[in-house]
């Protein structure tokens, strides 16, 4: 357990030592090019997975519920996004 914690802290420190993003220049360049809105997609997937896994025990059920939650969350957020874009366009 102690060695695992040490490993986690080692990774954290290794990530934080270089200043700013250029920890790995290729990934940093890629991250710069991705539009900000796409950074929300992994969060939707994460929230769906955690919601599903806290409601089920069976892996198959977790997979099914993850897709279910992702569709719902994505749908709601997508609807809000479209509404905001439309309001902005009309204004």
């Amino acid at each position: 357990m102690l060695s695992f914690q040490t490993l986690i802290y080692g990774v954290l420190i290794a990530l934080a030592i270089p200043d700013g993003l250029p920890v790995t220049p290729l990934l940093a360049t890629l991250a710069e090019k991705v539009p900000g809105i796409f950074y929300g997609l992994p969060l939707v997937a994460l929230a769906s997975l955690i919601f599903a896994a806290t409601h089920h025990e069976d892996p198959a059920e977790i997979r099914f519920a993850t897709v279910h939650w992702a569709v719902w969350l994505g749908g709601i957020l997508g609807t809000v996004f479209v509404a905001v874009v439309l309001i902005g366009w009309m204004a």
């Binding site: 991250a31 994460l46 929230a47 997975l49």
Partner: protein, 245 residues
Amino acid sequence: MTKPTPLPLQRSASRGNFQSGQSRPPIGSRIVAVSPDDGSAIDLRNPALAALLSWCLPGLGQIYQGRTQKGAIFMGAIMATFLIGLWLGGGKVVYASWKPGETRWAFVCQAGAGLVALPAVIQSRHLNGSARQPLLPIAFMAPPLSAGQYVSREYAESLTESDPDIAADDFFDKPPLRQFRGDQLSIWHRRLGKFFEIGTLYTMLAGMLNLLVIFDAWAGPLGTPTDEDRKRHKNATDKNIPTPT
């Protein structure tokens, strides 16, 4: 997924009154939850300890309860999100600050991720304490310096050497300390741009979702059938009619 332990369905009186046996559970009986998928019992072992473990390291409580696959899912998903957020934010987005006007409320959510956020508290206490410098030799998870803040000479020199945005003349010499005359938070925002907010969001969400994981370790899966659900299910089974979902 680990096969749940086949235990009699019992739950402590203070946490759900779930009983399917004819007799009351004996004092000291094991606390179990019920799988919403197949109705099997899940041994929660010591729920409080499991919840604490899940706070310390996401998913560790579930692993302690024998739900290793689920624990691995939680650990991988939440730790990956937290670390990616920390990386996107250049290692600057997780810090604790309780100074008036500069309170870092995001840390309240980030702290939900557990021990991985603990260095921020330690660094903040040491930087604002008598030492005037963080405990760790680097500025990892240390709060940003504000204008007029006093720091130790060692920390000022370390910042000057490691941070390209901070020069030696950004500090007034006030022996035995040095006084910062810039605003480090503004420097971070200027350098990181949108990634400061994105990294903050990732780490906050990781911490908040870990609260669900902690609850799962403490009380079992959400959506566990209630007494009413079981009565309805039993009636439906007795009458041989489909169970309403």
